[in-house]
């Protein structure tokens, strides 16, 4: 019933990301764009895993630092105290790294939405200002 590959739809905006030859059929453009598509390694997209790792590191780091503090206070042996200081520093480092990972992967989605909303509100504001100017 249909004629394949004879798109009469106008091409995308010339400034758009997918502008191609003006007489190129939609299906051909689709194939071309897909050929250029970079498909990410699935392992790179494991945001949930990184988020969980960040939370675990954050909690474990704090616990380790607290435990090291308790150990260093509970002994007069300088060797043990030095070990505890090393452990404590490791714990603080782990907690900082974990916090960074957690924030990175928990805030991304929220910030993306927030930015989209900001863009939308700015566009609306610009429209309103232009309309007000036009009415004058």
């Amino acid at each position: 019933m249909s004629t394949p590959g004879t798109s009469t739809e106008p091409g995308r905006n010339e400034n758009g990301p997918a502008a191609g030859p003006p007489d190129e059929a939609r299906a051909d453009r689709f194939v071309r764009e897909l050929a250029e598509l970079k498909i990410p390694d699935p392992a790179a997209g494991r945001a949930a895993l990184w988020l969980r790792l960040g939370a675990v590191l954050m909690a474990a780091g704090v616990a380790l630092a607290a435990a090291a503090y308790a150990v260093s206070h509970g002994t007069r042996d300088p060797l043990l105290q030095r070990d505890a200081i090393t452990l404590g520093l490791g714990g603080v480092t782990a907690a900082v790294a974990g916090s960074a990972l957690f924030l990175r992967y928990s805030l991304t989605g929220f910030l993306r939405f927030w930015m989209a909303r900001q863009s939308y509100d700015l566009a609306r504001l610009a429209d309103r200002l232009l309309e007000r100017e036009a009415r004058r």
Partner: protein, 235 residues
């Protein structure tokens, strides 16, 4: 033209429950393929896998001949895969015009999008300032289709277009779908109610319990077999 959309041996699951058991299906440019089947057969899951929204456990998703299994849904959408989900997928609290404005992400200007939408669905032009949630079901579905078309799709995935609509409205919507396909778009339509879509489909596939039980010409033979296939008594 070879298939624009092809699923090869796709298996997919929701949690521990496997819902697709090696589904193979293809849609060429300009072709309308109707995917029929009873509730819970896995029809929507096929659309979600095709749009990259739901991961396939095994099997391959090919678009324009390229294996895009594992590609991000956003990348597929930008390339030209458009999923119109069940339940219309419009923003009910935004006006018709604002709903269309949201689609400018695909590269078209607001004026171009409105021209496409209002030319194909003139009724929407008269309701441009009206909140989408207050439109009738048919008009909301028109808006959803218009939003889809605004992205200049090469592959259109439609889920239960007829849900909750009067037969007359459904007929008009499917006329538009046929027109869209004539412009070279590959259309995969999921429908529970076969009569609505078989009139415009080039091919039909019947999905039962996650397996394609029959695929081919949507003629009288298929219509006669549908009841048996839905009820699971087909051999």
């Amino acid at each position: 033209m070879s298939a624009l959309l092809e699923l090869r041996g796709v298996r997919a699951a929701h949690g521990r429950i496997t819902v697709l058991h090696g589904v193979s299906l293809s849609v060429a440019a300009g072709e309308v393929v109707a995917l029929l089947g009873p509730n819970g057969a896995g029809k929507t899951t096929i659309l979600r896998v095709a749009a990259g929204v739901h991961p396939a456990e095994s099997g391959r998703l090919l678009l324009g001949g390229r294996d895009v299994t594992g590609a991000r849904p956003g990348d597929l959408a930008r390339a030209g895969v458009c999923l119109i989900p069940e339940g219309r997928g419009v923003f009910p609290n935004l006006s018709v015009r604002d709903n269309l404005l949201m689609m400018t992400f695909a590269g078209r200007t607001r004026a171009e999008i409105e021209e496409i939408a209002f030319t194909r669905f003139p009724v929407l032009a008269g309701r441009a300032g009206q909140t989408a949630g207050t439109l009738s079901g048919g008009e909301q579905q028109m808006l959803a289709l218009a939003r889809g078309l605004a992205t200049d799709p090469a592959v259109l995935l439609l889920d239960e277009l007829s849900m909750g609509l009067a037969p007359l409205v459904v007929g008009r919507l499917y006329e538009q779908v046929a027109e869209i396909a004539r412009q070279g778009v590959a259309v995969l339509v999921v429908e529970q109610f076969a009569a609505a879509v078989l009139g415009i489909a080039d091919r039909a596939a019947v999905l039962v319990r996650g397996r394609i039980e029959r695929q081919g010409d949507p003629g009288d033979g298929l219509r006669a077999e549908l009841s048996a296939l839905y009820l699971g008594s087909a051999t």
